[in-house]
């Protein structure tokens, strides 16, 4: 667990501000530091990182389906601080029955499309998002493809194909 010095400073600062909310810190190969925080404090953690530690560059927001019975989904924010060149991943676990998270588009404009992608792939609702629509799939698609129970070859008939006889009146 050799967390580099600037990372450790930030983690200590977070642990002071949110005493029991920073649940665990993981590290791999000396570069990737992942901080897991409780779900109802994630927006404030991101806000402190944004204001105090100059994490103004949001690179990606993505989700994971852990496929466990409790707190099944994960949303990970990948942010980078330009001032002290530090890259941190802030992770939260979400229950399957209330997949709701406050949006971070008020902090970073970049979060707009990233959150729409997480909504499209996992079904996580972001409250306060300017226009939460599906990012890639058409709106008429009712499933969330990156969930583990969705078959990789898709569900036949979930999206309609164009009709090959142009003259017949479509419905």
């Amino acid at each position: 667990m050799n967390i580099s010095e600037p990372h450790q400073a930030i983690i200590n600062d977070l642990q002071q501000k949110y005493p029991d909310k920073v649940l665990d810190v993981k590290e791999h190969a000396g570069a990737t530091v992942i901080v897991r925080v409780n779900r109802d404090v994630v927006h404030d953690v991101l806000e402190t990182l944004y204001n105090d530690h100059h994490f103004i560059y949001l690179l990606q927001v993505f989700g994971t389906d852990r496929f466990t019975s409790e707190n099944r989904f994960e949303v990970i924010y990948h942010i980078f601080s330009l001032r002290d060149q530090v890259r941190i991943f802030v992770k939260t676990w979400l229950e399957e029955d209330n997949l709701v998270l406050p949006t971070t588009t008020d902090l970073w404009k970049a979060a707009n499309w990233q959150e729409r992608e997480v909504y499209d792939m996992f079904g996580v609702q972001f409250t306060g998002h300017p226009d939460l629509r599906r990012m890639f799939m058409p709106e008429d698609f009712e499933y969330y493809p990156l969930r583990k129970e969705f078959p990789p070859l898709g569900i036949p008939g979930s999206i309609q194909l164009p009709s090959t006889t142009p003259d017949t009146e479509e419905d």
């Binding site: 190969a29 570069a31 990606q60 990789p152």
Partner: protein
């Protein structure tokens, strides 16, 4: 003012009704600061659809523009026309099997995608790569950067009107393709990297071809720059449009040359050097204006830097193994497989289960692809298949920046702005 649901009433979609209605609705309630001057009832808004099948959108990108005369009042991008769920496929493939998919992300520079994916897997599995393989990978990814910037140059200048550039840049790209053909097997989707090293070594003829290409390309690049850099038409066409300052560029999430043109020297080869980039001396090209012309200069000078890097690599590269010989982590070399029993078993084991990173390990590694920072976040569950592979794609971020930049521009400039952002739909649609 035009009533709010005016476009929605005009749009009568015949397929994907919910999607198209929601898309047009989102255009209407998008807040815009471009203030429309004339409020007389005669002045109705025109909705222009730069649809998925369009010569200037560099792939299948749909832009819905609300125009007031020639000025764009609001625009909305719709992507996903090339979405094939590659992250879902990654969960069912072993690490080495997923390698050919990485060529099809940013299909203008497939070599650097391979290198990015291999570095990420090697980082999570903890594999050492011999020096010669690192040099070969750097030469390949810099050549891919030149070929990607060449296609950007050819299509952007052709969109701005000069068709001859497309022919010149493609002539140079064909040379790069023949170089890749010689040392990596195929014209551009090469899948040349392996986990733990590189698939095949570079023959002296390939080295000679690269040297000839570099000598001619340097002079050719100078000639192109002398034509374009102070060309009245090109400069007037690109100056002061799509202007974005550094602070806004960061918040919108731009990456790569588009971000460096706004004045932020964020280049992964300097921020988190990988391979042998820490020993190379090259500058990170940044401009301050942040408009389309600055992005043009950034990319042109980056081609010079790539040429310098390749020359230094060729000088420093010496004989040596091209793949880690640790049988558990990398493919054994072919003659070992044919002539020894263990080699054949290792080869079979590598193909069957492949590299197995530690259970529960999560790791991120990113590479400076020509379009920006291409990163892979891998979560592994101990088996040969990745549990989750998240791709941070540069064109996805740049396209979001494009939506911010297009507001308030003239409709004729959208073509050059899309060219300036250089999006690749295979990369952004994952």
């Amino acid at each position: 003012m035009a009533t709010d649901t005016e476009f929605l009433s005009r749009a009568n979609p015949t397929f994907f009704k919910k999607h198209q209605k929601a898309y047009v609705k989102s255009l209407e309630d998008k807040h815009t600061t471009v203030e429309v001057v004339s409020d007389d009832p005669l002045e109705t808004k025109m909705v222009l659809n730069m649809g998925p099948q369009h010569p200037a959108t560099h792939g299948v990108l749909r832009v819905l523009l609300e125009l007031d005369g020639e000025r764009i009042v609001r625009n909305k991008l719709d992507i996903g026309y090339l979405h094939r769920g590659v992250e879902k496929i990654a969960e069912n493939k072993t690490y080495q099997e997923f390698m050919p998919y990485t060529d099809r992300f940013d299909y203008l520079s497939p070599y650097s995608n391979n290198v990015a994916y291999c570095l990420a897997v090697e980082k999570i599995a903890g594999i050492e790569v011999p020096d010669r393989a690192l040099y070969l990978r750097m030469i390949g990814s810099e050549l891919a950067r030149i070929s990607s910037h060449l296609l950007w140059l050819g299509t952007m200048v052709m969109d701005a009107g000069a068709v001859s550039f497309f022919i010149w840049t493609f002539r140079e790209r064909e040379k790069i393709y023949s170089i890749f053909d010689n040392f990596a097997g195929h014209r551009f989707t090469v899948s040349h990297s392996r986990i733990g090293g590189v698939a095949s070594d570079m023959s002296p003829t390939a080295v000679q071809m690269i040297k000839d290409f570099l000598d001619f390309f340097k002079k050719e690049l100078e000639r192109w720059r002398s034509i374009l850099d102070r060309n009245r038409i090109f400069v007037d066409r690109n100056m002061d449009i799509g202007q974005i300052d550094a602070d806004e560029a960061i918040r919108v999430g731009l990456t790569g040359p588009a971000l460096r043109a706004a004045g932020i020297p964020y280049d992964i080869r300097r921020v988190a050097p990988y391979g042998k980039y820490s020993e190379m001396d090259f500058e990170v090209i940044t401009r301050l204006e942040g408009d389309n012309l600055a992005r043009y200069y950034c990319r042109m000078e980056e081609m010079h830097e790539s040429v310098r890097i390749i020359e230094q690599c060729l000088a420093k590269m010496e004989k040596g193994p091209i793949r880690a010989d640790n049988a558990k982590k990398a493919y054994p070399s072919k003659d070992e497989v044919y002539y020894s029993m263990e080699g054949m078993i290792h080869d079979f084991m590598m193909t069957d289960t492949g590299v197995c990173p530690p259970e529960g390990a999560e790791c991120y590694h990113s590479v400076e692809a020509p379009k920006g920072e291409l990163g892979f976040f891998i979560q592994s569950d101990g088996t040969g298949h990745a549990w989750r592979l998240a791709i941070k794609s540069p064109s996805f971020a740049n396209l979001q920046g494009l939506e911010y930049i297009l507001d308030g521009e003239m409709v004729a400039d959208t073509v050059v702005l899309i060219g300036g952002m250089d999006p690749v739909m295979g990369d952004s649609d994952k």
